[in-house]
């Protein structure tokens, strides 16, 4: 959209607005300061429940206070508070040990609302159609075990493990710990774009002793992979 440049606000208005906003940002005890912090805390608790629980009230309040005082949020929507808080945390606003939990919860949300459609083709079989990665797929390394309650940290002798998160055709959000085979197959498809099953098997043959069609079958069953008509996949 092309717009002419904005007019400048009158100087007195600029000064009054800046002073009121500064009061809200830095005055946690003022009414607007308190309301702002309450809004942010509510959004964080709703978007990142596990992170909020693990961080504890005091540390969360301190992080929110710093966020309100200093974070240059550029996304206007209130529901983007979560995205802005992740940026703030990644910039050092939250203890680094807690960051992966927040990032994972954000990825879950992000996959859930991804505008891409996860559609099943009306007709056609795996032999006639191309394989594509689910358009909502996100990959993330996690140093904790999401399959157990409270997501306990992996021991010191364990490295973070790769996970895939995606939304299936029924709108459920799925998380899977990735095996070496999963990683290789996903990597192939990310590099190549849509491929027929035969082409994927051929491209994977040097590295993968596993049965590619069986892997494809399982990945299609849980919508990690989608099918598309070759023309559609190329467009």
């Amino acid at each position: 959209m092309t717009c002419p440049p904005d007019a400048m606000a009158p100087e007195a208005m600029q000064a009054e607005v800046a002073a009121l906003c500064a009061q809200a940002r830095h005055g946690a005890n003022t009414l607007y300061g308190a309301l702002l912090r309450e809004n942010i805390l509510g959004a964080i608790a709703c978007s990142f429940p596990e992170f909020s629980r693990k961080a504890g009230e005091m540390s969360l309040n301190a992080a929110v206070d710093l966020f309100v005082a200093s974070h240059p949020a550029h996304l206007p929507q209130f529901h983007q508070i979560a995205s802005e808080f992740v940026l703030f945390a990644q910039g050092g606003g939250v203890a680094s040990a807690r960051l992966p939990v927040m990032e994972y919860e954000w990825v879950l949300l992000d996959a859930e609302i991804d505008p891409a459609a996860v559609v099943l083709p009306d007709a056609g079989s795996v032999n006639e159609l191309d394989l594509t990665l689910n358009p909502t797929l996100r990959l993330i390394m996690l140093p904790f075990d999401v399959t157990l309650p409270d997501w306990p940290a992996l021991g010191d002798d364990h490295e973070a493990r790769p996970h895939a998160v995606w939304r299936n055709a029924a709108h459920g959000v799925v998380t899977r710990v990735l095996s070496r085979t999963d990683c290789l197959m996903i990597d192939r498809l990310r590099q190549s774009g849509p491929l027929s099953c035969a082409a994927l098997a051929w491209a994977s043959a040097p590295d993968l002793p596993d049965n590619v069609p069986a892997w494809v079958h399982a990945a299609l069953a849980d919508d990690l992979l989608c099918l598309a008509h070759p023309k559609e996949a190329q467009s």
């Binding site: 959209m1 717009c3 002419p4 440049p5 904005d6 007019a7 400048m8 606000a9 009158p10 007195a12 208005m13 600029q14 009054e16 607005v17 800046a18 009121l20 906003c21 500064a22 809200a24 940002r25 009414l31 607007y32 309301l35 702002l36 809004n39 942010i40 959004a43 309100v68 200093s70 974070h71 240059p72 949020a73 550029h74 996304l75 206007p76 929507q77 209130f78 529901h79 508070i81 802005e84 859930e112 609302i113 991804d114 505008p115 891409a116 459609a117 909502t136 939304r167 709108h171």
Partner: protein
């Protein structure tokens, strides 16, 4: 979308209500739904499907939170572009937001702060409203917010909003609860504010509940039933400016849908009944 009738009644579409609304036939106890466009713009998945379904059942009006028309930064054209796309997609003609600011030189603040009501600021604000209207292709309707800060020496709120509507051609969303809360908190007469507004610019009404703080101030929480005093003020609004679509706002401590619709019917009936009561025999 067909324009709403003057006696139309609506509720806000909260996440908690979505499932129930999707799984029922169209209800007869309200006529339209108000949505915060920011909560739906650019979303896919279940939420998108649910909104598509709801849009087939009810007329939608959009009530934004993020415009920040009263700040002193350049307008967010990316947001306006996304907004127009969304409004066009769902055929939403009535677009409202707040006469407020949510941003300073650092960034967004995620709350609605008041604009200094000065004669000198009117041209600046009217020009911004005009740009918003051009960008969205619709008249912008602005709501009077509840304000917890007084800039010294301001114009009366009614006169300021009336002047802004006259200069910019914007509509007014008269929030009756906010008028009540402001009058109480700032020691003013809510009727002075209401009487100063031009009837023909008022597009619709909001009504809501508030909370009384320990220090006696009122806070616009949308978390309580509508207070009797606010309903009484609503009756005076209706008598003065006439019937308009009425929207019951409830964002916190949400009752079940039936109870919410029941409260809406009760408030609407009370406001309308007063007008009929006042009519000459």
């Amino acid at each position: 979308m067909r324009p709403l009738g003057a006696s139309a009644r609506g509720i806000g579409l909260r996440a908690e209500l979505v499932e129930a609304l999707c799984n029922q036939p169209r209800r007869a106890d309200f006529d339209f739904l108000e949505i915060a466009p920011e909560n739906w713009m650019g979303l896919g998945g279940r939420k998108r499907d649910q909104l598509d379904r709801i849009a087939t059942l009810y007329p939608l009006v959009a009530h934004g939170l993020s415009l920040s028309v009263g700040d002193t930064q350049p307008l967010n054209t990316e947001y306006l572009c996304d907004l127009r796309h969304f409004l066009d997609e769902y055929g939403i003609m009535l677009h409202s937001d707040h006469l407020s600011l949510s941003r300073d030189g650092t960034g967004y603040l995620y709350d609605l702060l008041p604009v200094p009501r000065r004669e000198d600021n009117l041209d600046y604000l009217a020009a911004r409203i005009d740009r918003v209207q051009q960008a969205t292709g619709r008249r912008l309707v602005l709501e009077n917010i509840s304000a917890y800060h007084d800039f010294p020496g301001q114009m009366p709120e009614g006169a300021f909003i009336a002047a802004l509507a006259q200069r910019s051609g914007c509509g007014i969303l008269l929030d009756i609860n906010n008028a009540y809360v402001n009058a109480h908190n700032h020691g003013e007469d809510a009727l002075d504010f209401i009487a100063a507004l031009p009837s023909d610019a008022i597009a619709y009404y909001h009504i809501a509940g508030h909370l009384e703080l320990d220090d006696g101030r009122l806070l616009d929480t949308h978390g309580m039933p509508v207070a009797d005093g606010v309903v009484a003020l609503g009756q005076q609004v209706w008598a003065l400016h006439g019937a308009r679509p009425l929207l019951l706002e409830r964002d916190n401590r949400l009752p079940p849908l039936d109870a919410l619709a029941g409260e809406l019917a009760q408030v609407h009936q009370a406001m309308a009944a007063q007008v009929f009561h006042d009519l000459p025999a």
